[in-house]
């Protein structure tokens, strides 16, 4: 309804196409997460929208797609197609084990004054030195790191792809994310820059929002070790979100980080 602009609106604006200045949830929806056989295909939808898994706003940009095969090597998305409401692509699972499919956005914003006029800049780390003029004053710089990811498994689950990169907010599964069952508890660890992220709020939203009146969204807070546990009330796709803002970074650059993970819970 009312489209409120909140801190990560910039992320939404960058990820969404067409450009918009509204805050929406970023999500990735796998067509399946548990596969058997010698090989398999999974199709993914990615979008920014108000309700998770309801593509009613804008497709997500995927210029920064990072797919890891079970051995940790990079894999390629196929059949990329950007629709108005959702981006899709396919992944050929040609090796058994667990794959990590992530879209990771990493960009910098700067606000500065030049000749008494306030100006803004956005770009990558490499572009920043050239992007901010030498006579700029009152420069404030921030970095935005947003991860949208899911896991899929062909055959026996493996754990090689769980290793965090040490950049921004990440989820390290303790319970395997392709081994989740309704009524059972699962444990994860939230990491910020490779270290446990204590006392952070995780928002948990379930698919099928359109077909019920109560969103049945829940939150859980991470412990001192960054750990949290979820007992899945029922089967479905679940969206796990965490966000930190204005974290002090290196060279006076503040960091805004967000994690959006999707897991499937089977009956």
């Amino acid at each position: 309804m009312k489209k409120t602009v909140f801190a990560l609106a910039a992320v939404a604006a960058l990820l969404a196409a067409p450009m918009s200045a509204q805050a929406h949830r970023g999500w990735i929806q796998p067509s399946s997460t548990v596969l058997s056989g010698a090989e398999g295909w999974v199709s993914f939808d990615l979008a920014m929208s108000n309700g998770v898994f309801i593509p009613d706003h804008a497709a997500m940009r995927v210029e920064s797609l990072t797919i890891l095969a079970p051995d940790g090597s990079p894999a390629e998305a196929q059949n990329l197609s950007r629709g108005r409401l959702r981006q899709t692509f396919d992944l050929h699972l040609d090796k058994p084990g667990t794959w990590k499919v992530a879209n990771v956005l990493d960009f910098y914003n700067a606000v500065y004054k030049q000749g008494g006029e306030e100006k803004r800049w956005r770009g990558t780390a490499a572009e920043m030195a050239a992007g901010i003029p030498a006579d700029a004053t009152d420069v404030t710089r921030s970095r935005t790191l947003m991860r949208v990811e899911t896991f899929v498994t062909l055959g026996q689950p493996t754990e090689t792809v769980f290793a965090p990169t040490g950049q921004g907010l990440e989820l390290v599964p303790v319970t395997h994310p392709n081994d989740l069952v309704a009524g059972e508890a699962a444990t994860f660890t939230l990491m910020l820059d490779g270290k446990p992220a204590a006392n952070q709020t995780i928002t948990i939203a379930r698919s099928g929002l359109r077909y019920r009146d109560n969103p049945e969204e829940t939150t859980v807070t991470t412990g001192a070790d960054g750990g949290f546990s979820v007992t899945w009330p029922q089967a479905g796709l679940y969206w796990l979100n965490a966000a930190v803002r204005d974290v002090a970074g290196t060279d006076g650059v503040t960091v805004n980080a967000q994690y959006n993970g999707v897991v499937e819970v089977l009956p």
Partner: protein, 170 residues
């Protein structure tokens, strides 16, 4: 018992003779609950009168985000699912005296002047209030009331709406 019968037949007679009831106002009071949420948005709300068989008779009020450019606030009117299906989709908004901005949590009162209900035949109706909130839930509350004589009705929601009361005053 006698008085009740008398009142009922008077109403019937008035309805039969006049065809409609004049000079009665309808006042609806709705409690919009205060909901603690990191991303709270005021709910969209629709109010309408329906017959006992749930046929919609007349929309009384629609509160939505009227300030967004290009009427974008209308994109979410369909989330008032029941109202949308029963009449909202046939309306053109904004509508004078019906549509307005969303309202803050707390007690909100709407008075419908008699003139706007001049075509409503006397009888038993439900006043329906439906609320839908972005990143929140949806709820509809039905309050029975009688049109044709002074009376009040009340009901309450449990999630997106609090107490709802209807008063017909002569």
């Amino acid at each position: 018992m006698r008085r009740l019968t008398l009142a009922f037949s008077t109403t019937l007679a008035a309805g039969l003779v006049a065809g409609a009831v004049h000079a009665a106002d309808l006042t609806v009071t709705v409690e919009i609950p205060r909901i603690s949420s990191a991303s709270y948005h005021r709910p969209y709300v629709a109010m309408w009168i329906e017959q006992a068989d749930q046929t919609a008779v007349q929309t009384l009020a629609v509160w939505y985000d009227t300030k967004l450019p290009n009427g974008e606030g209308k994109d979410w009117l369909k989330d008032l699912r029941t109202w949308w299906r029963k009449g909202g989709r046939a309306m053109t908004l904004p509508a004078d005296g019906v549509s307005g901005a969303t309202r803050a949590p707390g007690r909100q009162t709407v008075t419908i002047p008699a003139a706007r209900l001049r075509n409503l035949p006397a009888g038993q109706y439900n006043l329906v209030v439906e609320a839908a909130r972005e990143l929140g839930g949806r709820e509809a509350v039905r309050v029975p009331f009688r049109w044709g004589a002074a009376n009040t009705g009340r009901a309450a929601g449990t999630t997106e709406l609090g107490a709802v009361s209807v008063a017909v005053t002569r």
